[in-house]
Symmetry: C2
Subunit: 359 residues, 2 copies
């Protein structure tokens, strides 16, 4: 029933709907629900330790025998450096907020996530069907190894140039991430300000430049968005925020409520949570931390040093310090189980394409 | 042949394609070519003195008997204030660049454009068929007067809230301006940072909120973009950058060449040219003036004090100081006469809608 089948054929799925990985929001239950409904469920494994990742994959496989993907961050620089003076500065700022909400001591910043090499080894041993990368194409050898086990590689581009770099590295499917998208900007080869292009502009430009399937990501919430993406030349869509209000995921209730009541203008691209730009719902932390930019640690240390503050804030149902990633389509978010959401989108797709018939 | 006809019916046009007004780029020839091809040609009259505006309207009417529109800036605050110290500061900065390219003295800044009331009086006397406003809905009395002569009102919204304000003021058609759009951001009721929403997110949210026709604007360059906009629920499109390489317009050759060779990531939203945020191709002025923000005058004085520098730079085929407004779709710009461009878009529309047929 889909206008293009190159994506579904390549991935062995029924519907060209990829659930965005969403590290720390996705769960085996969400991944399996999406895959069982005919889409591609994705686990955001970027911040998951290798042993835990193996366990997650086992859980997913207990819940579905359909293809799924796991996403890792693949930046060229995995670790970061900072001085003890910098650590003192940010800790002094964070402890004020910690004290305010009784969050205990500020944790030690960790200068590395993953590590990628160990996470990747698990995914390869587990022969997961679809590998997905953010912040770059992953090392050439890794891509070679993925292809050697017959699996596919997705990676994110935010400009035409980035899409070309990914294809040259052997990536099978380009996720064209528009400026609307929630979560971390995938930008890796240009200054990040240059990589904030709306999908209406980005998708046709990328489609014209590469021959592999292009998936539109950013702000797509319903059947209108999918038809729109196909019209622009995409072979499928990636949707994140639309799945955030699903009961199968793992977000704090205060975040879920924010998703259900926020408007398109309530999100902002900010690097204050992690040290890398990402789109989130504005809150006290995005506003106040902005005034203390000079104290920020580089990615990923900034992410780890704020972890406890975010968690305790969420536990108290206080949105002030929670990282509530969301895209600009958030105003259209509705509470549906993932399988029902996919079924609804398919029905909408049919209705919208029918409405476009030239009379 | 169009999936929705509410826009074409209301405006009395054949095709739901509105050429964006583009003050200082549009010409009577461009407006007439678009209207004669069945679209809605628009003259960007914001910086045109009232007497000249009357002459322009006469010229348009000599070239076409089809509907057309004229756009004015309708900000709540028409004038701005600044001290003589501020004027000295910016003049001292600008004179360095003036001297470098032999541009003569820096002109006096003018604290007002229009004035709106006189420009509007001309449009009303001339009974132009379609009035179009940026930076707000225009005064209620003006909208009443427009309806009294049987003409229609378009105005720009960048958020759902702004769309609701416009409809409440009596605006007939909402231009939903996505963050992709070239030129001035129309944002008028929220902090401008909140009004940078991609059309894939903005259009369906606005369509769900208002009952008047919604026109998608921003990054739309070809038939793919139009189908995409209809899929999102729009009743038509506004295209600016796509018409910038048309021979009928009035842009310097150096600007035209920049349009033809720039990429999606080459534009930036900046207020350094006018004092209000607008999307333009990055150049030396957008980069260097950014370091002298503290010297900037408010809108519209900043626009007038930089006028000579922009003009002389353009005359010398030097892109360094020219305001080269463009949207993020610029990479897809091609040189076509306006009528041919519209015909090409219609053929593409038919091909793309046919390709979306559910099999």
């Amino acid at each position: 029933m889909w206008p293009k089948t190159e994506l579904v054929d390549l991935l062995g799925i029924k519907h060209p709907i990829i659930q965005a990985p969403m590290a720390s929001a996705s769960t085996p239950e969400l991944v399996a629900a999406v895959s069982n409904a005919g889409g591609l469920g994705s686990y955001g494994g970027a911040v998951t330790p290798p042993a835990k990742l193996r366990q997650i994959i086992k859980q997913i496989r207990e819940l579905t025998d359909r293809p799924f993907s796991v996403n890792l961050f693949a930046p060229a620089e995995e670790t970061c450096e900072f001085s003890s003076e910098q650590k003192t500065l940010i800790s002094k700022q964070l402890i004020k907020w910690h004290n305010e909400i009784d969050a205990g001591p500020v944790p030690e910043p960790i200068p590395i996530i993953g590590p990628f090499v160990d996470q990747f080894a698990v995914l390869l041993e587990e022969k997961i069907p679809v590998f997905s990368f953010h912040f770059g194409p992953a090392p050439l050898e890794a891509i070679h190894d993925i292809h050697a086990i017959g699996s596919s590689v997705l990676a994110t581009a935010t400009t035409v140039r980035e899409a070309e770099i990914l294809v040259e590295a052997g990536v099978d499917i380009i996720i064209a991430q528009g400026s609307e998208a929630g979560g971390h900007r995938g930008t890796f080869a240009v200054p990040y300000e240059h990589g904030k292009i709306g999908i209406a502009s980005l998708v046709p430009q990328v489609v014209d430049a590469v021959t592999v399937p292009v998936v539109a990501a950013g702000g797509i919430m319903d059947g209108r968005g999918i038809v729109s993406a196909f019209a622009l030349g995409a072979s499928g869509v990636m949707m994140g925020t639309a799945f955030l209000a699903c009961p199968e995921n793992n977000i704090p209730e205060v975040y879920r409520q924010a998703i259900l009541k926020s408007k398109g203008e309530d999100t902002v691209i900010t690097d204050v949570f992690s040290g890398r730009p990402a789109r989130a719902i504005r809150n006290r932390f995005t506003r106040e931390m902005e005034n203390h930019r000079d104290k920020m640690l580089p990615f990923p240390a900034q992410l780890s040093i704020g972890r406890v503050l975010r968690q305790i804030s969420a536990q108290q149902s206080n949105p002030d310090f929670v990282s509530m990633w969301a895209g600009q389509g958030v105003e259209l978010a509705k509470e549906h189980p993932a399988g029902e959401l996919i079924e609804k989108i398919i029905q909408e797709f049919k209705a919208v394409t029918a409405s476009l018939q030239v009379k």
